[in-house]
């Protein structure tokens, strides 16, 4: 951890940040960190504003010769903080592209200026909110909210034409705008414009009670509600130094893996359907529905919303519920291998998915793309393994990794991860502790006021990749600042690259194979 040691020496460690250190640095060290990011020796995990300061979360791989391979399980995280009393900071995006959209969002929300940022267009702010810079210390009232012109990046050449798509799309999906520049059928440039689902979540978080904040966290991106609730809970528990009852730890993993399984099943079917292979959607749709129905019967909610709170979980698993989940596993195992085989052996389908929408491994590494997008392009990072949190440190599982980086590889990562999730669900059931505590304490420890300001950071593996939550809790036990960074922040930009040179008709296929969240990064 040589790089972290060097950066830490250049600043002052702040107390009360758990579990990793937070270092208050000057501009020189901030710039040095940006340069190290640009060299590829660290991965950017997040970059967010906080009043008159900015924070940067970093990941350092173990002593591994080959950056991005993550053969070591000893990754570490570090948070750097730079105070911006004059309202600006040196842009990280100027040297490290993955930071650009994050810095555009910081400027929209906090009025902090990233000096040298190559793209000065707003990102989340479309000119329509009632406030200007809503998260700054002095938000201004916007007297006449009105849409502002948004100049898309140009593409020049003979015979190029533009195709604007969205924000309302043809399917039942979230809103966002895609601007294609095409030469005949071939995409020359795709540019995304997002922010349509910006709900002001981090503003609603400020001042909220832990219960309200947990409820909000569970609705940042509905398809990852379990993972977000877990990430928020773990950040709070880190801050307050809480130990979660062992039974709750395993129930959390059980729910998280059920969520991953349901989403992967849905995605596998939906991607194939976008290659006009409807049978896979029908078959996988049945399996996904079976998972959701089991979740409803066992945990009382199909998506398992609001089942995880700081301190533990709100529902127990009955013996009948455990049997129900084992039956679910059996029913999926009876069918799923045949479906994977069907995918593997249908040449007309493979013709669409193989070699389509390629993300080069170097780019996946540079952007720190998580989940199936990173793991289809050789980046094997998985927080369950490399920043392992209980109970994954005691469970056996593989992190399936492919190197082709195409739609096909992203499907195979999902197929293999679904199989791993089936195993992890079984292991969670087998190892579920039956402890002897009083009933109320078995599932959730009470959260008591700590009497001082505390800070916590958590990274949790959602089905899409690593979700980062940073939280600061005041002495009265309320949220002072909470930042939730969706994995899609670092995945959306790669879609623009993946589609380049492909035909327009393959965009739905590429897009579905990414299945990025809109709501998550729109915040």
């Amino acid at each position: 951890m040589a790089v972290f040691a060097e950066l830490s020496r250049q600043g002052k460690q702040m107390a009360a940040h758990r579990p990793c250190p937070r270092i208050l640095v000057e501009e020189e060290a901030w710039r040095a960190a940006a340069a190290v990011l640009a060299e590829g020796k660290l991965t950017l995990l997040g970059l967010w504003g906080d009043g008159q300061a900015v924070h940067m979360a970093l990941l350092e791989d173990g002593p591994d010769e080959d950056p991005g391979k993550f053969s070591s399980t000893r990754c570490e995280t570090l948070v750097l903080t730079l105070a911006c009393p004059l309202g600006s900071f040196p842009s990280v995006g100027a040297v490290h592209a993955p930071a650009i959209r994050l810095e555009r969002a910081i400027r929209d929300l906090f009025a902090l200026i990233p000096r040298g940022l190559p793209d000065e267009r707003p990102w989340l702010d479309h000119g329509r909110w009632r406030l200007e810079h809503p998260l700054s210390s002095t938000p201004g009232e916007r007297l006449k909210p009105a849409p502002v012109a948004y100049p898309f990046l140009p593409a020049e050449g003979e015979g190029l034409h533009q195709i604007p798509v969205g924000p309302v799309h043809a399917g039942i999906i979230e809103p966002g705008h895609f601007r294609f520049n095409a030469s005949g059928e071939t995409v020359v440039r795709l540019e995304e414009r997002l922010g349509y689902t910006h709900k002001g979540i981090e503003s609603l978080m400020a001042g909220a009670s832990l219960e309200t904040a947990a409820c909000l966290a569970g609705r940042v991106s509905g398809d990852s509600t379990v993972a977000y609730s877990l990430a928020f809970a773990q950040a709070v528990e880190a801050a307050l130094d809480l130990s979660v009852p062992p039974r709750a730890v395993y129930l959390r993993a059980l729910m998280a893996e059920l969520e991953r399984l349901a989403n992967h099943l849905g995605d596998i079917g939906a991607i194939c359907n976008d290659a006009a292979f409807a049978m896979m959607l029908a078959q996988c749709g049945v399996l996904r529905e079976r998972v959701l129905r089991a979740a409803h019967e066992v945990f009382g909610h199909r998506l398992m919303m609001d089942r995880i709170l700081p301190g533990g979980v709100t529902v127990d698993l009955t013996p009948a519920g455990a049997t129900r989940i084992r039956e679910l596993l059996a029913s999926i195992r009876a069918v799923f291998p045949a479906l994977a085989d069907l995918y593997d052996k249908t040449a007309s389908l493979q013709d669409r998915t193989s070699g389509t929408g390629i993300v080069a491994p170097a780019l996946a590494c540079r952007f720190g793309a998580g989940g199936y997008i990173g793991r289809a392009s050789g980046r094997s990072f998985d927080t369950r393994r490399h920043l392992a949190y209980p109970p994954y440190d005691t469970l056996a599982f593989e992190v399936p990794t492919f190197f082709e980086g195409d739609v096909n590889a992203r499907i195979w990562v999902r197929i293999r991860e679904a199989e791993q999730s089936l195993s992890l669900i079984e292991q969670s059931l087998d190892n579920l502790p039956r402890d002897n505590l009083a009933r109320d304490d078995r599932l959730q420890v009470s959260v008591t006021d700590i009497g001082e300001t505390r800070e916590g950071l958590a990274l949790v593996e959602g089905f899409r990749g690593d979700i980062l939550v940073s939280v600061r809790i005041d002495a009265g036990g309320r949220i002072e600042r909470c930042h939730l960074r969706d994995p899609s922040w670092f995945q959306w930009p790669l879609l623009e690259v993946a589609i380049e040179g492909n035909i327009v008709a393959d965009f739905p296929l590429c897009n579905k194979s990414f299945n990025c969240s809109y709501s998550g990064p729109d915040m």
């Binding site: 309302v168 999906i173 689902t197 509905g222 199909r302 249908t346």
Partner: protein, 171 residues
């Protein structure tokens, strides 16, 4: 693939029984009585996500799976508002989506109905007090004919609501 297709022929369907008339009557009571007369027994639905967390979309998607099989009722999702009778709106109506929602409504030919689905769309969700969201959900922007509460509403809730649009209220 042949084996899977053959199994499909020999196994009984997964599709479940339709909701009963009594269940639908309660919902239909709230509706414009002319809906069924105007639309007959078929509805084309355009879904508009006005800033949801995507939880509602997951459950709307589920309506297409073999268990609910929406299309057997003459209900289908269409790609363009030009083809739609009904706008099914989810989300709190973020200010960044307000204009797109209104323009989608304007692009939908008459007669048309608006269904607000999910707690957020009803104006009661966790995002209701944000600087970035419309106060009052979908009803603050469009005339809402039917609401389907839930966070998110289950496929059965959604199915009942949509079927109610087509049923004459019990007198």
């Amino acid at each position: 693939m042949r084996k899977l297709l053959f199994q499909g022929l020999t196994r009984s369907p997964l599709t479940e029984a339709a909701p009963t008339q009594a269940e639908l009557a309660a919902l239909a009571r709230d509706l414009d009585r002319t809906a069924q007369a105007r639309l007959g027994h078929s509805l084309s639905i355009r879904e508009v996500d006005a800033g949801s967390c995507n939880g509602c979309e997951l459950e709307i998607h589920a309506l297409g799976n073999a268990f609910y099989d929406l299309e057997r009722f003459g209900l289908r999702f269409v790609a363009s508002p030009r083809h739609a009778d009904v706008l099914l709106v989810t989300g709190p109506v973020t200010l960044n989506m307000r204009e797109a929602l209104v323009r989608t409504y304007d692009a939908t030919p008459n007669p048309k109905w608006v269904v607000a689905a999910g707690t957020c769309a009803l104006g009661d969700g966790v995002f209701a007090d944000s600087y970035a969201c419309e106060k009052g959900g979908v009803a603050a922007v469009l005339n809402v004919d039917l609401v389907i509460p839930g966070c998110p509403p289950t496929p059965i809730d959604l199915l009942k609501g949509l079927l109610a649009l087509m049923e004459r209220p019990a007198v």
